[in-house]
């Protein structure tokens, strides 16, 4: 397959039920092209987290397929899939489990077999991308929340992923950290799937949005258009913050 036209992520017919019988996904189809930034919106309990955990094969066993840059997610290529799909989890304290920032960022590439100066260079580059180079030898619990979130992004960037998946990237951030993270995400040359409730943030960063509701993709289109469709928004329990009018802002392409 031609690598330029192969989408970064291709999900088709994905359905999944938890062992207790609760069905979370009922046939999800979408595709994300290389370099796109897409927001995944949806109310609580829509199946967003379940979907994310399918992208790197933590959850499997339902119907349907997921392909990352042409490679099917499955037992055979698990190590490569996990390198290609970088998930940044919501709580950076869960993501940063090593004693120092440097070791944490090195964890992924080292698990993939990188070592020595090559590993060191990878760590430096990832930390530079999120502007955290000078915090290399700090323990993660001595950083501010916003800094920890940025390091969490670096831990994933160090693996040079095909697609970056962010779970609620703006949660618990103060406005300044929120803007800093947005600047960083915009500067990255990587495909991004952003799972969020933060609609203005989605509009600011992602030209395209998907709405996941009750286990299916209910809408797929330009973020500004979806957010302006009051009927659609109400039907899926999505609410804009008070006083926010998506038509009044012009998102950059």
């Amino acid at each position: 397959m031609d690598p330029v036209s192969t989408p970064s992520l291709e999900v088709s017919g994905l359905a999944f039920a938890y062992p207790d019988g609760h069905q979370a996904l009922f046939g999800v189809d979408f595709s994300i092209g290389r370099g796109e930034r897409v927001a995944l919106l949806g109310p609580n309990g829509a199946g967003k987290t379940t979907l994310v955990l399918h992208l790197n094969g933590i959850l499997t066993g339902g119907a349907g397929t997921v392909q990352v840059a042409g490679l099917p997610v499955g037992k055979r290529h698990m190590a490569e899939i996990r390198r290609r799909v970088g998930i940044v989890f919501q709580d950076p304290d869960d993501q940063l489990f090593m004693p120092t920032v440097r070791e944490d960022v090195a964890f992924g590439p080292a698990a993939a077999g990188l070592k020595g100066p090559e590993l060191e260079e990878r760590v430096d580059r990832a930390l530079a991308q999120v502007g955290m180079g000078q915090f290399k030898d700090r323990p993660p619990h001595h950083l501010s929340f916003g800094q920890r979130r940025r390091v969490a992004v670096a831990t994933v960037l160090a693996m040079e992923p095909e697609i970056l998946v962010l779970d609620e990237p703006s949660s618990n951030l103060d406005p300044a950290s929120r803007r800093e993270l947005a600047d960083i995400l915009r500067s990255l040359d990587v495909t991004v799937l952003m799972v969020t409730h933060d609609l203005p943030y989605a509009l600011e960063l992602c030209p395209r949005a998907l709405i996941l509701s009750e286990g299916v993709i209910a809408a797929d289109g330009k973020t500004g258009e979806l957010l302006s469709d009051q009927e659609l928004m109400r039907a899926h329990r999505l609410e804009l913050p008070f006083g926010f009018d998506p038509r009044s802002v012009t998102p950059d392409a």
């Binding site: 955990l53 790197n56 933590i58 190590a79 996990r82 390198r83 799909v85 970088g86 998930i87 989890f89 709580d91 304290d93 869960d94 993501q95 489990f97 090593m98 004693p99 120092t100 070791e103 090195a106 964890f107 992924g108 080292a110 698990a111 993939a112 070592k115 590993l119 030898d137 700090r138 323990p139 993660p140 619990h141 001595h142 831990t155 994933v156 693996m159």
Partner: protein
């Protein structure tokens, strides 16, 4: 590593002892303790020589005597036990200041006191010249079961996170008018402890998820390879070797 944010047992410095690779220091301290423990208790002078050896190490490491003595206070509970021994042990009795003491008990007390103090002093020296993080690397290098090293390093990483959670739960309890006063309130404290356990357990699951997502497959990747030259080994092992000479003299004289 971790300049300015080290554990409080550690004493930052640039002495030759600080510079030794961690696994050589661990091996030296362990061997020293084994030698001390296997010295006959009747050879009182030998223990004096051991103390002198440790004094030399402390001097080389530029650890002040006051610092060392203060850290030795941790031994106090064991000292209390040793003091009891002459009163409770059986056998030949001897009168000291009008008290009838057991000769065996006196020797036993001396044995515990001398060997315990030397062991604790050696550990304190090790801890004050080696950072926690390095100790873990040393243990890993000495081929301690990797699972134990991983558990220890997670304890260091998450100790603060869990204490923080505990503090927040206490504040939440107190904000609702609860104050632990006496046995009747133990039930509430026990429930808090249970809740804390479940929270930590769930965090453990989330951390594991984050590790698996970055390619963890059961063993930690080696990020920092610690190595020691022959000279460093012989420098570190000078302490236990000197102690061994004293010990052998103690047995033969």
């Amino acid at each position: 590593m971790g300049a300015g944010h080290a554990h409080r047992l550690y004493r930052h410095g640039h002495s030759p002892v600080h510079a030794l690779p961690p696994h050589t220091k661990l091996a030296a301290a362990f061997a020293f303790v084994v030698v001390v423990v296997s010295t006959p208790r009747e050879a009182i002078w030998a223990f004096g020589l051991y103390a002198v050896l440790l004094g030399v190490v402390a001097h080389l490491a530029r650890v002040p005597a006051a610092f060392l003595l203060k850290r030795l206070l941790i031994e106090v509970p064991f000292v209390a036990f040793a003091v009891l021994m002459p009163f409770v042990a059986e056998g030949e009795q001897v009168d000291v200041l009008g008290l009838s003491l057991s000769v065996n008990g006196l020797w036993g007390a001396w044995n515990v006191l001398a060997k315990g103090t030397l062991g604790v002093a050696a550990s304190v020296l090790l801890a004050s010249t080696t950072e926690l993080r390095e100790l873990l690397l040393g243990l890993q290098r000495l081929k301690l079961p990797p699972l134990l090293v991983q558990i220890a390093s997670f304890m260091i990483r998450y100790g603060d996170v869990i204490t923080d959670e505990m503090r927040r739960m206490r504040i939440a309890r107190e904000s609702r008018g609860f104050e632990a006063r006496g046995v009747r309130h133990w039930g509430v404290l026990a429930k808090s402890a249970g809740a804390l356990f479940i929270r930590s357990y769930e965090r453990g699951e989330r951390v594991h998820l984050a590790m698996v997502s970055r390619g963890y497959a059961g063993s930690m990747p080696v990020i920092d390879e610690v190595t020691a030259s022959r000279a460093q080994w012989s420098y570190a092992l000078a302490l236990p070797v000197a102690a061994l000479v004293v010990c052998l003299l103690g047995w033969t004289l």
